[in-house]
């Protein structure tokens, strides 16, 4: 399946962007266009998920997957934190911030996985979109707990109480994913017909252009970073493998189908690079963005896109 992955236009555009940035080409995607594409992708994936759930109804599977997602997002930062402090040699605050990223999820990784899995006959259930939305935020809580553990109130200059919680719960991607999911559930298959041409048929093409941009960004992060040690680079590969394995196994154990178990694996393996960095900038200003963005965007994202998806698909197949 890795060969299929590597000849899929979606991944090839990512590789093109990566190479373009490595040879320092001035190729760049306008910021507004990249944001527009991410809004489009989230609306599209939310809609499709909602429609599928409207079709299949609420099932025990759905509930099991949702609970598993919540628990994993909350719990995995603790393991990551321990590794980041010991093997990675990070301080408490930086370790907490990075751990939050690995507990949370990357929407684009999920979307790419959905495309690649579906293309190889493994279509995850629609409700995995809801699981995606649920997994965005719990990790932020555990990350902050870990970073602030044992600190007195006066040290916690950043927290900003309500401001942060509001930022986390009303953040753009959660609102858009959940909102489109609900719209999909209300509109159903019929209502969707009218908007299908834009949201369905254009989807993979937009994903190509978006991954072109992600390739540029990932490579620039990697080459411009001055904070990435060899140990951290190793963890940026190890954490996705560990978390993804835990996620896939959990998915199998709770009885998800092979495709959805693989998708849960990809979700746990993926690391946030939008919602969590913004929250950390507010709540843990002393944590160094150079570390968490380089690890998550520069290494884990490419790793997951190119290898992770195939690995967890194979694992889910073996287990299921």
């Amino acid at each position: 399946m890795i060969v299929e992955t590597l000849t899929s236009p979606v991944i090839l555009f990512f590789v093109l962007g990566f190479i373009a940035a490595l040879i320092k080409s001035d190729l760049s995607i306008p910021e507004a266009f990249a944001k527009a594409m991410s809004i489009y992708l989230m609306a599209a994936i939310g809609l499709k998920g909602g429609i599928e759930v409207a079709d299949s109804g609420f099932t025990p599977d759905l509930a099991a997957a949702a609970i598993a997602g919540l628990v994993l997002s909350f719990a995995l930062p603790f393991l990551a934190f321990a590794l980041l402090k010991s093997f990675g040699r990070l301080g408490q605050v930086d370790a907490g911030a990075v751990a939050a990223h690995y507990g949370s999820v990357s929407v684009v990784t999920f979307v790419t996985a959905k495309e690649i899995l579906t293309a190889s006959g493994l279509e995850p259930q629609g409700y995995m979109v809801a699981v995606l939305a649920l997994m965005e935020t719990p990790a932020i809580i555990s990350g902050l707990l870990l970073a602030r553990w044992g600190m007195t109130q006066t040290d916690r200059n950043g927290d900003g109480g309500g401001g942060l919680w509001h930022e986390v719960l009303a953040n753009a991607s959660v609102v858009l994913l959940v909102g489109s999911f609900i719209i999909g559930m209300i509109a159903g298959k019929e209502g969707f017909e009218a908007v299908r041409p834009l949201f369905d048929t254009g989807f993979r093409g937009v994903l190509c252009l978006f991954l072109l941009d992600m390739g540029l960004i990932a490579a620039r992060r990697l080459t411009q970073s001055r904070k990435l040690t060899v140990r951290l680079a190793i963890l940026a590969v190890a954490l996705p493998i560990i978390n993804g394995t835990i996620g896939t196994v959990t998915g199998s154990l709770i009885g998800l189908d092979v495709a959805s178990a693989a998708a849960l694996g990809v979700l746990t393996a993926s690391a946030s690079y939008i919602a969590v960095p913004a929250a950390m900038r507010l709540a843990l200003p002393e944590a160094d963005p150079g570390i968490y963005l380089s690890m998550s965007l520069g290494i884990s994202f490419p790793f997951n896109i190119i290898f992770g998806i195939s690995i967890f698909a194979a694992l889910a197949r073996a287990l299921g």
């Binding site: 995607i29 200059n157 960004i217 960095p277 002393e286 963005l293």
Partner: protein
């Protein structure tokens, strides 16, 4: 001739997610107006960056505020504790403005 008065022109260069917090401090210091400018790219101790990273966390912004000398000083003091942990850049210049009652 229009009569002008002296005022301070304050620029705070900060990470975009911090703008609401900066604005909160501006208001708490009695500064009534501000404007936000987009920064495209830049470089400093932490290397270079450019705005095309749609992950908002790396984006930077300039908050521009015109204020009377005393409120400007109050603001500078209020901002002081954040200067280091948030890596802000604070720039204050002297300017002349009209319609002094606005500030």
């Amino acid at each position: 001739m229009v009569s002008t008065v002296s005022a301070k022109r304050i620029e705070i260069l900060c990470d975009t997610p911090l703008v609401p917090r900066i604005v909160g401090i501006l208001r708490a210091s009695g500064i009534k107006g501000w404007s936000v400018l987009h920064v495209e790219s830049g470089g400093g101790r932490d290397g270079e960056w450019r705005q095309d990273e749609f992950t908002g966390a790396a984006a930077k912004t300039i908050v521009l505020a015109i204020a009377k000398a005393d409120t400007a000083a109050a603001f500078t003091d209020a901002l002081a504790p954040m200067l280091d942990s948030y890596g802000l850049l604070l720039i204050v210049g002297d300017v002349q403005v009209v319609r002094a009652d606005r500030f």
